[in-house]
Symmetry: C2
Subunit: 421 residues, 2 copies
């Protein structure tokens, strides 16, 4: 109830919100009214008792009455009710407890997501989400990145084409984009630095706590830089976001146990893929150079490096076709992943910008250059060297809110099983 | 070349960009280097002439040399070249003239969009676009709206279901969302004010200069308000955006002819649908109450009302099922469209928030309430009265940049014919 303040004490005020709680003790009825900004206690006496007794929990109401300071420890103010108008009656029983006192499974909560959001612990997650998006946008704009919108409907399966949703587009076959990778690179022909925050789609049959088939990605690309710059740029962004979110949440209890919000962030450790293999080998997990890091190996690495860390210099063959190899060792690429414990948050690298090398890399990867003709032609136009990264926004929000399931931080998640609400 | 300034005169500087122009006069070569922030003239003398003669237009280069003030009227600075490094060679001939001196059709330009954006007139449109999005976000946040992400993949065809793209989603039928309407309303159960800026999709076979099958929509919804508030809120937002964009563009010539950026905006006129019919009838265009305003009638209205205006109080039967009718005249609804001349930019209204009325309205519209079961259940949870609007971002950018075709203001447009690049 952000609009209530001391200067209004003694005045008639009107507040709107939902009825979180009602205690009827006969001649008095105590009503807790909440909105997204907080709650206030309202007390019905005398004539207003009759009105108060007709209210159901979770109904939307407007209450007019005299504002007083409250003696109750949970409230700063109370309102002595003069009038109650029920604007929308909630039915009874409700599918979940919206106060959060009785726990429900994430599945049941998502079935009733709009109601679930009346629980302040839940709505705070989405406030953190909005704050994170806006501080990412602000910081990238300050760094000279231009926000762009690239198409989500694409005509050719980019990046290899596995796991794309496809559909009929005016009698042509179209796909839902899984990233803006090719578009953001093309834009580097002419726009020095671009970023996009938008929805992407992956038809992957995963049943994990960190994969969804629709997700929000933050993508950047910059001209005349390499992956060292990209890592620096991403690290600075993460530091700023963490600092903004922790300042905002300093006085809320719910994420108090989250270590990254409690302390200043240490500089983010960089560890090469080869160093990871050594550490894994010392811990009984033998992976040959070129093998992907499995879930269990990422859990071992997460134990060792804690919090945020970069895994750099991946084998060229593990990375997509557009990643540039190192001149001194073509088996190794100028690439990185940003991890938080076992969770992959972002990946990036220096891009190939020479058409011939890009074409032969496509062939090495078993892809057909002619399927990428629309993309390749931009490499005839004097495209400068460039680098960039893509960051899973949903996963970053998991980290910031200390959530163990990506479904906690997405309003209406989409996965193999779930297409509603 | 924003990084160049007077304090650097007499120093060695390095600039990166593309070669916009080369004039070879034998012992001297004049090169114009441009990036997204501007251009500088570089002059090769003596030994550097040989390097300069090897460069092709539109190639990406880095040039090192001594910075001087320029005598040439088009440049503030010139660089006396010491070293040139070609970072990416452009082929010859190029598909379009990226300086904009030779006009190409919008179709040819979009075929080579990344190159087309080297034309400053074109890139400025996308700078205006980014500035518009960011000022919309900032203003809505200041007004207490929380930015949300709702799903683009939906399980039931919302709003009637015509013209949706559909596809196979793990053996279920799914659709691409054409608006966040139902989700943003559901969120009003618990979040007082929400907004979203995101891509939406419409499988409409239109061949016009103002329709695309993928477009960006700005959507808001607010609790405990009606359409009068929504119009006020939208008007204030438009005023702020116009003022920010005109301040930013004050010194650029290209949109100088755009009257809305030249003057302060007058208060936005409100005209009812019935008043529109009268004006049309006086101008020989007879439409009965309940008839939609045709293209030709909107052109007549655009002549009369100029610039921005609201058309309010539309017939209930012309508006979607979720729009509330007026108590005193149920044939008329609490609704509005924001127009700019003949172009519809936004529409909004007070929403029905009582489940029974919503159900019977669905039936009146020939829709089946059971198809909307997931949506309707949120109306059991004490959803407050609410109102909001949806604004076509692309169309607003058309107005701000004085563009006659929506394809001018969308990087990679999607329509019946076009799925690439």
């Amino acid at each position: 109830m952000a609009q209530l303040n001391k200067s209004l004490i003694g005045n008639l005020v009107t507040v709107a919100g939902w009825v979180e709680d009602i205690r009827d003790i006969g001649r008095l009825v105590f009503i807790v009214i909440r909105d997204t900004t907080g709650s206030v206690q309202a007390i019905a006496r005398g004539e207003s008792v009759r009105l108060a007794k007709e209210i159901s929990r979770q109904s939307s109401v407007m209450i007019r009455g005299l504002l007083k300071e409250s003696d109750a420890k949970d409230f700063r103010f109370e309102i002595s009710i003069q009038d109650i108008s029920v604007r929308s009656r909630a039915s009874y029983p409700l599918p979940i407890d919206a106060t959060g006192r009785i726990n429900s499974s994430i599945d049941k909560r998502i079935d009733s997501r709009a109601l679930d959001l009346r629980n302040p612990t839940v709505s705070t997650i989405f406030k953190v989400r909005a704050l994170t998006s806006s501080s990412i946008r602000e910081n990238l704009s300050t760094e000279g990145y231009l926000e762009v919108n690239t198409p989500k409907i694409i005509g050719t399966a980019s990046e290899g084409g596995a796991n794309l949703f496809s559909f009929d587009y005016f009698k042509k076959k179209a796909y839902l984009a899984q990233s803006p990778q090719l578009y953001k690179e093309q834009l580097i022909v002419s726009l020095d630095r671009v970023f996009e925050i938008g929805p992407y789609f992956r038809a992957e049959k995963s049943h994990t706590v960190r994969h969804l088939s629709e997700f929000i990605s933050v993508d950047t690309e910059a001209a005349f830089v390499d992956y060292e710059y990209s890592m620096e740029n991403l690290e600075q962004l993460i530091r700023k976001v963490v600092s903004i979110v922790s300042n905002q949440l300093r006085n809320t209890v719910m994420f108090g146990e989250n270590p990254i919000l409690r302390n200043n962030l240490e500089p983010i450790t960089k560890v090469t893929y080869k160093q990871c293999l050594e550490h894994l080998s010392n811990n009984g997990e033998k992976i040959e150079f070129g093998g992907d890091l499995t879930d269990s190996s990422l859990r071992i690495l997460g134990e060792r490096f804690k919090g945020f860390y970069f895994i750099t210099d991946w084998p060229t063959k593990l990375k997509p076709f557009y990643i540039q190899e190192k001149t001194e060792d073509p088996e190794v690429s100028e690439s990185f992943d940003l991890q938080y414990g076992y969770l992959e948050l972002a990946s990036g690298g220096t891009r190939l910008h020479e058409k011939e090398r890009l074409q032969s890399r496509l062939e090495q990867k078993g892809l057909r250059p002619r399927d990428f003709a629309e993309h390749l032609k931009a490499f005839d136009w004097g495209i400068p060297p460039h680098a960039g990264w893509g960051l899973g926004l949903d996963r970053l929000i998991m980290v910031l809110t200390n959530s163990q399931n990506v479904r906690e931080v997405v309003l209406f998640p989409r996965d193999v099983e779930r297409l509603i609400p």
